[in-house]
């Protein structure tokens, strides 16, 4: 008697067995993009495991945070590896999440009936950025300290609620140990709880609705024709596992050859070091805000920028409801163009922001 048989006797697994046996993944030229979601999920799991291990030694206070990370990377057995894996997988995760987002955007996989999958996915992308922003401060080093000052300052520019948001984020008027406590709470409790729930919803929807087929492929099918399917188990899941192993190999190489620097401990009385800039995934936003004039038509430039980005975020969430042509299964060049412009903007402004002084 196998474990599955033993379980089947107690918990009726017929439904699950049937689902696994019948589930297929449509075969077409763009099917490679499907793996990005699985790789992102895998990195999220890596984040959880390495994060839990770091929690064993990390101490969230302005007096001890830096020293505790220093202890992790120098004294704890394989602590350097865990910290490097956590830092690198966080960055790869956000990179892959963006890639997944754009692949879904270009393939119009958000169209009916997958609107809620898209909404949950975009919210997850925002949550990943929140993880990045809150986690960046936790080592309490100089760069992170001043970048957080700038970042929370931008949040303070939100009209009406800005000053409240700034104080809420910082736990006072300035970035202090209170900010670190808040960011720690956000990073290890609030965000993981919301993200886990949303990931569950996202996965449930993906499994329930199956993989989307690109509009072009779908339109080429004759009435009644169905695309050939690859069995999800084991053919597709093994490909997923293969992709995960490739990610592990990349992560291990990055951790060993490009270790994440700890920098110098944050000192609120120290002068602002040159070249303060946020993490790469905020560079495009940061550089755009820098380029906006101080006043545009009598409105404060920073307010305008922050409101603009807020509007863009809302529009992104609502894309499936705005793209009516795609929802009818028709080609939607306007939204393809929007996706292309968005990608071009993000890549070019990230590069410009990186080299800007």
């Amino acid at each position: 008697m196998t474990v599955l048989d033993w379980l089947d006797e107690r918990v009726d697994l017929r439904g699950v067995r049937h689902f696994v046996a019948e589930k297929g993944v449509p075969l077409h030229a763009q099917k490679a993009w499907y793996y990005l979601g699985g790789m992102t999920l895998f990195l999220f799991v890596v984040q959880i495991f390495t994060g839990i291990l770091l929690l064993l030694y990390y101490r969230p206070s302005a007096a001890e945070a830096y020293e505790s990370v220093q202890f992790i990377v120098s004294e704890v057995e394989f602590g350097w590896l865990i910290r490097n894996l956590h830092s690198w997988s966080a960055n790869l995760l956000i990179g892959l999440a963006f890639a997944h987002f754009f692949s879904v955007f270009f393939l119009k996989s958000y169209r009916k009936p997958r609107e809620l999958t898209w909404v949950s996915g975009v919210l997850l992308l925002f949550l990943m950025l929140g993880f990045g922003f809150s986690g960046y401060l936790l080592p309490w080093n100089e760069l992170a300290f001043f970048a957080t000052k700038v970042g929370t300052g931008i949040a303070g520019a939100v009209p009406l609620v800005g000053p409240f948001a700034l104080r809420l984020l910082r736990g006072g008027d300035d970035v202090t140990g209170a900010t670190l406590s808040r960011f720690y709470g956000l990073h290890v409790a609030v965000l993981p709880a919301i993200t886990t729930a949303l990931v569950a919803v996202h996965l449930l929807l993906v499994q329930r609705q199956g993989m989307s087929v690109p509009i072009g492929v779908e339109r080429r099918l004759r009435p009644g024709e169905r695309l050939p399917q690859m069995p999800f188990f084991p053919n597709y899941i093994l490909r997923d596992v293969l992709a995960w192993y490739v990610v592990i190999a990349v992560l291990a190489a990055l951790a060993a050859f490009y270790p994440w620097e700890l920098g110098t401990k944050a000192d609120s009385f120290a002068p602002v070091p040159a070249g303060i800039r946020p993490e790469w995934y905020f560079l495009a936003t940061f550089h755009t805000l820098k380029l906006i004039p101080s006043h545009v038509l009598g409105i404060e430039g920073e307010h305008l920028g922050v409101v603009g980005f807020g509007m863009v975020a809302i529009v992104l969430v609502l894309i499936p409801f705005l793209d009516r042509r795609a929802s009818r299964g028709e080609s939607s060049r306007l939204f393809t163009l929007l996706a292309a412009l968005g990608l071009l903007y993000l890549v070019s402004f990230t590069i410009i922001g990186h080299f800007a002084k």
Binding site: W80, N235, A253
Partner: protein, 445 residues
């Protein structure tokens, strides 16, 4: 006749002058209750209209930032006369206490009237000293002036007479970065300095400013903006300006380089070196010190008295021993620093080693300081301590290199294992695909 300008003024200027006169009593009554305000006066109105720059420049300068004007003082406080008179003849009348342009001793006395009055100065600049005039009287400038030499510097030569700024104002001629230029205005002027001699009878040199501009002190002050770096007045004094005598040089240098002075005072050279520190380091053109100075060979500071290669010259041998020891510690620190930087860049935590290297650097500085006693044994003891610290860093560095090797070997092994697994998985997937290339397709047509 420059003084009866009022009569020659245009109607518009007269009106402006009268307006000022009307406004004056109001200002005066306010001055009792409020902090002093710049005094409105007829002197400015009248002098500003003069075509002779000697007469108009003071009015123009006094309308710019001026510490006296900002504190409510007016022209008459130094020059006497009447600011309310409408005619130059009345304004400049001797009965009004008009003194004209004070020069020489009169100028010093004019400034000292307030600046030597502790009670008065307490109202405007409570922390300012009030002994400048006394110091000046004791200075070379003051003594020469008392002997009738009107070519020497008085208060206004350095501080200016009008448009005077606080010493802390970067535009002030006596702000640290400007002092050398201010002194050089006279001391680098060969014509002006002609006839002046040093105490030994030699002509007073005029190269001091050019030499100073080559010095490590000038670089620190003007290039690194280190306002604590010395300029002319830090060694020669300002109000009590005098060249430090032969016996006082070490004391002057020692005000900043206290430990060096202390070590030198205990050295065998102290009774021999007439010019103290200057013997090796020079005075105005003090160059950045280097370990290479410590030799009786070429380029060394010991050459004048010691002979390189002379076995009987104990001083030359000691200099070589000191220089070699110091150079060795420096090289060891540099090498250890390179190693630590390399493994830090590779991700090994080295903050303890960086701290230790800083300690070794302190030992090197201590050795270089102790060297001024010119005794080998104490320096060698410090160098030995420094070497011990460097050795501990080297050991940690070697451990770091081993750790790096371990990490990379571990990575290579795990990457190999991953590769084997990926290949196996790929083969398995291929096998599965062959068995079931895709199902559920509904053929078209």
């Amino acid at each position: 006749m420059p003084f009866n300008v009022w009569t020659r003024m245009s109607a518009r200027r007269r009106l402006a002058g009268l307006c000022l006169l009307v406004a004056m009593p109001v200002g005066a009554s306010r001055a009792i209750a409020q902090p002093p305000q710049p005094a409105a006066n007829g002197c400015i109105a009248c002098h500003a209209a003069q075509t002779d720059p000697r007469l108009s420049a003071p009015a123009a300068l006094f309308t710019q930032p001026d510490v006296h004007r900002d504190n409510g003082f007016g022209c008459v406080d130094c020059h006497g006369g009447s600011a309310s008179a409408t005619e130059a003849r009345v304004a400049h009348a001797a009965t009004q206490g008009f003194k004209g342009k004070p020069t020489g001793q009169a100028q010093v006395a004019t400034c000292a009237r307030c600046h030597s009055d502790a009670a008065l100065m307490r109202r405007y600049a409570p922390r300012q000293r009030v002994d400048q005039a006394t110091e000046y009287a004791a200075s070379v400038h003051g003594q020469r002036l008392a002997n009738g030499d009107h070519n020497v510097a008085t208060c206004a030569s350095c501080h200016h007479a009008h448009g005077i700024r606080r010493v802390s104002d970067a535009k002030s001629p006596v702000f640290p970065t400007n002092v050398a230029n201010t002194c050089a205005a006279c001391h680098a002027d060969t014509k002006r300095m002609a006839g002046y001699t040093l105490s030994g009878g030699a002509a007073l040199p005029t190269r001091q400013h050019a030499d100073y501009r080559q010095s490590v002190h000038y670089t620190a002050l003007t290039k690194r903006n280190d306002l604590s770096a010395p300029t002319c007045n830090d060694c020669h004094g300002n109000h009590g300006a005098a060249p430090p005598g032969v016996g006082a040089v070490t004391n002057v240098c020692g005000t900043c380089h206290a430990v060096f002075a202390q070590k030198f005072a205990a050295s065998v050279h102290q009774p021999i070196f007439d010019k103290g520190c200057v013997e090796c380091h020079g005075n105005h053109a003090v160059a950045a010190p280097s370990d290479q100075m410590l030799t009786a060979g070429a380029g060394g500071a010991c050459t004048a008295c010691h002979t390189a290669g002379d076995a009987s010259d104990k001083g030359a041998a000691a200099a070589d021993t000191l220089r070699t020891g110091i150079a060795r510690l420096k090289t060891e620190i540099d090498d250890a620093g390179s190693l630590i930087r390399r493994i830090r860049n590779a991700g090994i935590e080295v903050s303890n080693e960086q701290l230790a290297l800083r300690e070794a650097g302190t030992k090197l500085t201590l050795a270089r300081t102790e060297m001024h006693r010119f005794e080998v044994a104490p320096v060698e003891a410090i160098l030995a301590d420094g070497m011990k610290v460097v050795e501990s860093v080297d050991r940690a560095g070697a451990k770091g290199v081993a750790e790096l090797r371990f990490r990379r070997r571990g990575l290579a092994a795990s990457l190999g294992a991953i590769l084997i697994f990926v290949v196996a998985l790929g083969l398995k997937i291929r096998q599965l695909d062959r068995r079931d290339p895709g199902h559920g397709a509904t053929p078209a047509g």
